[in-house]
């Protein structure tokens, strides 16, 4: 069949305007804003955020068009004709426009997303997209084989509703493994990338079902008989979906992410200050602020200077703990939000426990802020705390003033003791 004939008869082309309309509308109405707020132009984030809402629509489109085209062939009694071409070729020929429309639902938002964020796709950003495209093929195969057995006016809406519901509602239902095995991918944060194992868990069940149906419905009847192909199909499906379930069974709300290599730009020496390339323009001012604050804090005896202060932005959802030599501070976001000094002071005042007594901790922080000449910023941070009222603030100021009136030597002693006390005895300020 030549291309023009194919395109004139395929249902995919008639459905395409509607599908593309939904994709465009979704992008400009919802995705675009999310990208601007969260993606930072980081390619894996751009891909994942653009695709997040489109997966169910793409899969429903693929499976419905697959069933519809298959029904069209069946009603035209293609399969009763003497075989001149391979059945697979016939199936592939009517399926590719269907798969193409489903792919456009995935590709379009990704391309628009990269255009909006003025960023270029990288190799490590593509797995969620490729996974979606592979699963579109699998869904269209499933639809095709269902359409070989069931009339298309029944098959198409039923499989489309099933696929759309199963995938779309997976985000809001427990158990969590449900959402990890149906081919959706959650937003990826800066510094993360999709891990191979998460992709595998997403791909296995659906592809297993497609292969099993293919084995049962088309491929093996002639060589190993109906029963044999049924047994084999059940085995394939059970092992694939079982493997996917085993992988995802213990995952929480989000699948495991791999750490991406983020190119960093560094400046200075002792401390060396590093930020990701995307915030390179802010680096000079960040570095100046970091070194000034550190020099002041050091001379007040608050902390030893680390050899490396690096941005925690590339750590995504799995932050690394600072050591005395390497500090992970949220430099870029802190600088954009105008609270960099607070973050440096918080990193410098290293309580030996995770949860120090809050009142004393605030006293120490405000005292350190005074030493770093950054009282204003730290105070405005305190003011945002709804559980910290005017009276408490006044008491805090009186206590800090009392400490500051002492000689330098005594202040440093008080500071070192307070770090221990805040962790030792909750509720007993010195």
């Amino acid at each position: 069949m030549n291309l023009r004939t194919l395109l004139r008869f395929t249902s995919a082309l008639r459905f395409a305007p509607l599908a593309v309309g939904v994709a465009l509308f979704y992008f400009f109405h919802t995705t675009s804003l999310g990208l601007r707020q969260f993606s930072l132009g980081y390619p894996p984030s751009v891909v994942a955020t653009s695709l997040e809402v489109m997966y169910p629509f793409a899969y429903a489109t693929a499976i419905a068009l697959g069933a519809w085209e298959s029904g069209r062939l069946r009603e035209a009694e293609i399969w009763q004709l003497a075989p001149a071409r391979s059945q697979y070729r016939i199936a592939a020929q009517v399926l590719w426009p269907a798969v193409g429309v489903a792919w456009s639902l995935l590709l379009l938002p990704v391309v628009l997303g990269f255009a909006q964020e003025r960023s270029m796709p990288t190799l490590q950003s593509l797995p969620p997209l490729l996974m979606g495209m592979l699963l579109c093929v699998a869904h269209s195969v499933i639809g095709f084989i269902v359409g070989c057995r069931v009339k298309r006016i029944v098959a198409a809406p039923v499989v489309a509703a099933g696929a759309w519901l199963a995938v779309a509602m997976s985000w809001t239902v427990e158990p969590f493994w449900w959402r990890h095995i149906l081919g959706t991918f959650e937003p990826i944060e800066f510094g993360e990338r999709a891990s191979a194992i998460a992709i595998l868990a997403d791909v296995l069940p659906t592809c297993g079902l497609a292969v099993a149906l293919l084995l049962y419905g088309v491929a093996l009847h002639r060589s190993i008989g109906k029963l044999g192909s049924a047994v084999l199909a059940i085995l394939v499906f059970a092992s694939c979906s079982g493997a996917g379930f085993q992988l995802a069974r213990d995952w929480g709300a989000s699948a495991p992410m791999a750490r991406a290599e983020v190119p960093m730009t560094c400046v200075g020496h002792d401390p060396e200050v590093c930020v990701p390339d995307i915030s390179e323009s802010m680096l000079p001012s960040i570095a100046t602020q970091v070194t000034t604050s550190l020099t002041r804090l050091q001379s007040a005896g608050v902390t030893e200077s680390p050899s490396l202060v690096t941005d925690s932005l590339p750590d995504g959802r799995s932050p690394r703990a600072s050591t005395s030599q390497t500090w992970y501070v949220d430099l870029s976001r802190g600088a954009s939000a105008g609270r960099l000094a607070t973050l440096i002071i918080r990193a410098a005042v290293r309580f030996p426990c995770h949860d120090p007594e809050p009142e004393l901790a605030r006293t120490v922080l405000l005292w350190a802020a005074t030493k770093a000449h950054q009282v204003g910023e730290v105070e405005s941070g305190f003011k945002e705390d709804p559980f910290f009222d005017e009276a408490q603030r006044n008491r805090l100021h009186r206590r800090v003033a009392a400490v500051l009136s002492q000689p330098e030597q005594r202040q440093a002693q008080w500071y070192r003791r307070s770090l221990v006390v805040a962790c030792d005895q909750p509720g007993s300020p010195s």
Partner: protein, 195 residues
């Protein structure tokens, strides 16, 4: 009437479809899910029972498409009248099933199923006049559109959604009756040759 009954799958497809519908309605009568939405950032809370009428619309489509072409075009029997009766019968049975399940299990949502089915069947029949068998996708499209753009706030649907409105809503009831009527008219007056 016997050949019409058998040609329309009255002995096989119709009871099978209605049995599927009953089972689905029993399984889903009180389940909701959050579906992706454009108008609500938190997603549209959708009662899964809204999807069950798809079984009824596809059953109706399947039965009406199963014809004895030559006999029907040339015959003198009032086949269209029979067809209308068939459609009305399906909708009536779904209403009874919905009411039965609703009263038995105390589920208000299941009772809406009859109204939703009347609306979606009417929609499907009207669409068949223009787009032929592809019309069987229209009810699903409507349900998806309601989830996507049908809600002002959670549990506050726009009036045009019809299927998302609560049971006693007069506008929704009137709209489903009207659309069902239009669907039947389309069924009666459509071209004889179309399938």
């Amino acid at each position: 009437m016997t050949w019409w009954f058998r040609a329309r799958l009255g002995h096989s497809g119709l009871p099978a479809g209605l049995a599927c519908l009953t089972l689905l309605a029993l399984a889903l009568h009180d389940t909701s899910a959050i579906l992706p939405s454009l108008t609500l950032t938190s997603g549209a809370p959708t009662r899964l029972v809204e999807f069950v009428p798809i079984v009824a619309t596809t059953t109706v489509g399947l039965c009406l498409d199963s014809r004895l072409e030559n006999a029907e075009v040339s015959g003198i029997r009032p086949v269209r009248l029979f067809d209308c009766l068939l459609v009305a019968f399906v909708v009536a049975v779904v209403c009874i099933i919905g009411l039965g399940i609703g009263l038995m299990l105390g589920s208000k949502l299941a009772m809406e199923m009859g109204r939703d089915t009347a609306f979606l069947v009417g929609l499907m029949l009207s669409a068949r006049t223009w787009i032929g068998p592809s019309a069987s996708m229209v009810p699903l499209g409507w349900i998806a559109a309601v989830a996507l753009a049908g809600f002002r706030r959670p549990n506050d649907p726009y009036f045009w959604t019809v299927i998302a409105e609560p049971l006693g809503n007069p506008v929704a009831a009137l709209a489903s009756g009207a659309v069902f009527g239009v669907g039947l008219l389309c069924l009666i007056y459509r071209s004889r040759k179309s399938t």
